[in-house]
């Protein structure tokens, strides 16, 4: 416990004693204990499936524990539902926001307040403005939610908790959707809340953030408490070690490659989005070189999805003379024909798109990899099974066997499998979206190395990710998307997180427009 907290030491705000929750076939929480002091920013760390979500849902009353006690301000409480949690002063900001897009900020906030709370507050809009000023949240109560950016929506969610005079704020991976500048803003708010005595429980994957802002950390692994630490005294590496055990290697820096020959190009790609809430692509230009990774940074929903589906051919609108692969006009081919001409694709959604949930791994191998397995229309299932087995071995996919259904695998293992399947087709160009999103540290390392190996074999890789650290680690050249515009492409060693962060926020757009006007 840090010194500042010890001084204002009172009784703990929240104590968890031996919280246990059993799901069918999975012990999600096993005798977990945790203490939170007033004003403490506490990190809850662990790999995917470590039990973090179950634990915070227990605190917020979404999940009822099988055994164990929750002590709130010195009294044992039974938090049966989120409304009881809110009455106690517990607020939570979920990873996926729960806001009605067609309502204003004030209306959204009003929805989750009781009559008593509303009459207590009086003028809600004024209260929102006051709090907005006090914390620098910059939330306008009259704006409609659909007109807000992701970062702004998150601030509305935080505002919703503040309006209810929250004593404990739970944030589930709050920074995963923010630009670096927005993250800094969020941290300022959190520090101010903490200084006023509000406790904060902060779930994150990003260890440098934890070391930056959190006073204490609790680390879970496989549903069990494995240790706690003061992040200020640790490095991301030592914390990672606790999260994954001693076995995991760390991602070290990798050597950057220089691509030589152009293999793929998008020329002046302008395309209206099919989805009314989607992002249209605006004059996107870039080239992929053999033997290099081009990383594209950007906050989700800025055109990445549209860009990938038009390159992969899932968006079946044909485009003439816009996309070229190895000199051929790719834009007029069907998705299947694009695959045949050497394009492979690892999509963002693994289950339900990259793999059919109810089908076995061997069937899912055949999904995109049919070359050599189909003769005169018939499938050589024995060969497919053998190949699926070899993929499972080569990429250490944890599963019962090639007969396992895709949905029975964890996200990381399924991703290793899909990655292996796509790489196994020896693509000339691989499009890879969020390759390690939600993947544990060990699997992420394996995926990174597989990508680099493919690059070194001479393939071109388009890497689209929200994880800036990952992009800096892997990409040889980088760009950012914002609102369907693509920034200039620069070599990774010639740029900085700060510059890419600004590009993600769209600072390049006016420059490039004016330069376009010149040419």
């Amino acid at each position: 416990m840090s010194e500042t907290l010890k001084k204002q030491n009172s009784s703990p705000r929240l104590e968890l004693l031996n919280i246990t929750k059993q799901y069918p076939g999975c012990l999600a929480n096993d005798q977990i204990c945790m203490t939170l002091m007033p004003g403490e920013i506490h990190a809850l760390l662990g790999e995917n499936g470590a039990g973090k979500s179950t634990l915070v849902k227990t605190i917020y009353g979404v999940v009822s524990p099988d055994s164990g006690q929750i002590i709130w301000d010195g009294h044992e409480v039974d938090i049966k539902s989120p409304s009881i949690a809110r009455d106690l002063g517990i607020g939570m900001v979920f990873q996926h926001f729960s806001l009605f897009e067609t309502l204003t900020v004030a209306q959204n906030i009003e929805l989750c307040l009781s009559k008593e709370q509303l009459s207590e507050i009086g003028n809600l809009a004024q209260r929102i403005r006051d709090l907005s000023k006090a914390y620098g949240l910059n939330v306008d109560p009259e704006r409609y939610v659909h007109s807000l950016s992701i970062g702004e929506r998150q601030r509305v969610e935080i505002m919703r908790c503040l309006v209810q005079s929250v004593k404990l704020l739970i944030l589930d991976e709050p920074t995963s959707v923010l630009t670096p500048q927005e993250v800094a803003g969020l941290f300022t708010v959190l520090r101010q809340l903490s200084s006023e005595g509000c406790s904060i429980l902060f779930i994150s994957h990003k260890l440098h953030e934890v070391t930056e802002i959190c006073h204490n950390a609790t680390i879970l692994r496989g549903g069990k408490f494995v240790g706690d630490c003061e992040p200020a005294n640790e490095t991301p590496a030592t914390i990672a070690k606790m999260m994954v055990g001693d076995l995991a290697e760390q991602d070290a820096g990798y050597e950057k490659a220089h691509g030589q020959e152009m293999i793929f190009a998008a020329k002046n790609l302008t395309l209206a989005s099919k989805n009314p809430f989607g992002t249209s692509l605006k004059a996107v230009n870039f080239e992929l070189l053999k033997g290099e990774i081009l990383g594209i940074a950007g906050v989700a929903g800025n055109g990445q999805e549209e860009l990938m589906s038009i390159i992969s051919g899932e968006d079946s609108r044909s485009l003439k003379n816009v996309l070229t692969l190895d000199g051929a006009d790719l834009g007029v081919l069907s998705a299947g024909a694009r695959r045949k001409s050497g394009l492979a694709y690892v999509p963002e959604e693994r289950l339900g798109r990259g793999a059919v949930p109810e089908m076995s791994l061997s069937e899912n191998t055949l999904l995109t990899h049919s070359r050599g397995f189909v003769k005169s229309g018939l499938v050589n299932w024995a060969a497919v099974k053998e190949y699926a087995k070899s993929l499972i071995n080569q990429y250490s996919v944890k599963c019962h066997g090639e007969f396992s259904e895709a949905k029975s695998l964890s996200g990381g293992n399924l991703q290793k499998f899909i990655m292996g399947r796509e790489i196994g087709q020896n693509p000339k160009v691989l499009i890879c979206a969020h390759p390690t999103w939600g993947v544990d540290v060990g699997a992420a390392l394996a995926i990174h190395q597989a990508l680099l190996q493919l690059r070194d074999q001479g393939a071109a890789i388009l890497l689209i990710s929200e994880d800036i650290d990952e992009l800096f680690l892997l990409a040889d050249r980088m760009a950012a998307v914002c609102d369907g515009h693509l920034s200039p492409v620069v070599r990774t060693e010639d740029t900085s997180i700060d510059q890419i962060g600004q590009w993600m926020a769209g600072t390049f757009i006016n420059d490039s427009n004016s330069s376009e006007a010149l040419t």
Binding site: S334, A335, Y345, R353, V356, E363, L367, G377, S408
Partner: protein, 355 residues
């Protein structure tokens, strides 16, 4: 108290147990119904389910009914596997009967060896053409396949009625709405001396096995399964959605058309206004009862054929109205869908603190 809980994964046991459970529940329901009608339920069930299998004649008649049910159901199974909600097997069957009859009537006074094959061919093509209309509307304009196929069922029925009253009516038939009797060269060969089991029944079983092979061994069958299980994955893999839609619909149309022409060129021997007691609709139940698997369809088609046959016998032996068969089928589908609920959900005692 009890509550419903989603299973973590679908129950394989329930997938296979569900049809049998549904049949048992249907029989219990039937017993209650027969008692209410003042009939002995044991005797009624005996007539409905056992008597159809009691002698060679009844078995052969049962097989004659099983043929068209199976042909339609196999086609529908493929469609439903690919998420193509084709309710139009009845219309495609009628179109097949109509097209086949038009061809057969060219051979009324002929003993050409081509008569039978050409008649079958015409029936199959007509079924495919009838299936092509909603498929075109679906792939071109994304129209609702359920609605268009149902509407085309009625259009096919009235087209057929118009034809037997008009151009295809037997000029020597005293104005009855029937075509001339087909020549022997046109009729499908009968397999056994007694009974009416014809080549169409054998073709039905063979085609079910072909469809099974297609689904499990061919790349196309794999694509159909992927397309039905997970459309985004099929799009991601670059499968041609339109080609798959066209294939399953034309396949189903061909099989339903064959079922129709095999009726008129088989047991009936001429075109009449009532060639199908709703085989195309019952085939939907067969497809689901057979778990959308061609081999399952063989078993399910046999069961529904027994029920059809038993309905005829119950009318003769016990004076039970033939409408009972339709009601039995409806109740069976109802119980089947209800039992299928338990593939994905289960009922557990609710805990006190979950109030």
């Amino acid at each position: 108290m009890i509550r419903v809980q989603a299973r973590t994964e679908p129950s394989t046991l329930m997938t296979f147990a569900s049809p049998f459970l549904a049949i048992v529940l249907t029989l219990i329901f039937g017993s209650v119904l027969f008692s209410a009608l003042g009939k002995d339920p044991i005797q009624a069930l005996h007539v409905l389910l056992v008597l159809p299998l009691s002698d060679a004649y009844n078995i052969s008649e049962m097989l004659v009914k099983m043929g068209p049910l199976l042909l339609c159901a196999v086609g529908l199974s493929l469609c439903y596997r690919a998420n193509m909600w084709n309710i139009g097997a009845e219309g495609q069957l009628l179109a097949g009967a109509l097209g086949g009859s038009a061809m057969a009537l060219q051979f009324v006074d002929s003993d050409s060896a081509l008569a039978m094959p050409l008649t079958l061919f015409a029936g199959i093509l007509s079924g495919m053409a009838w299936a092509a209309i909603p498929t075109y509307l679906k792939t071109k304009f994304n129209s609702n396949l359920i609605l268009t196929t149902i509407m085309l069922n009625y259009i096919a029925l009235y087209l057929l009625i118009w034809a037997v009253h008009g151009p295809l009516r037997d000029p020597a038939g005293f104005g009855f709405p029937e075509s001339a009797l087909f020549s022997d060269a046109t009729l499908l060969p009968v397999l056994f001396d007694s009974g009416r089991v014809h080549l169409g029944v054998v073709l039905a079983v063979l085609l079910a096995l072909v469809a099974w092979f297609l689904l499990s061994k061919s790349h196309l069958g794999f694509k159909i399964r992927v397309y039905g299980a997970d459309e985004p994955a099929a799009t991601y893999a670059g499968f041609n959605a339109k080609a798959i839609s066209w294939f399953v619909m034309l396949f189903a149309g061909a099989l339903a058309g064959l079922a129709g022409v095999a009726e008129v060129a088989g047991p009936i021997g001429q075109l009449t206004p009532n060639i199908s007691p709703g085989y195309g609709y019952s085939a939907i139940i067969v497809a689901y009862l057979g778990r959308l698997h061609p081999a399952g369809a063989i078993i399910a088609a046999t069961f529904l054929a027994i029920l059809y046959m038993g309905g005829d016998l119950a009318q003769i032996e016990m004076g039970i109205p033939i409408a009972v068969v339709g009601m039995f089928q409806g109740v069976l589908l109802f119980f089947l869908l209800a039992c299928d609920f338990f593939i994905r959900y289960r009922i557990v005692p609710s805990r006190e603190n979950m109030a």
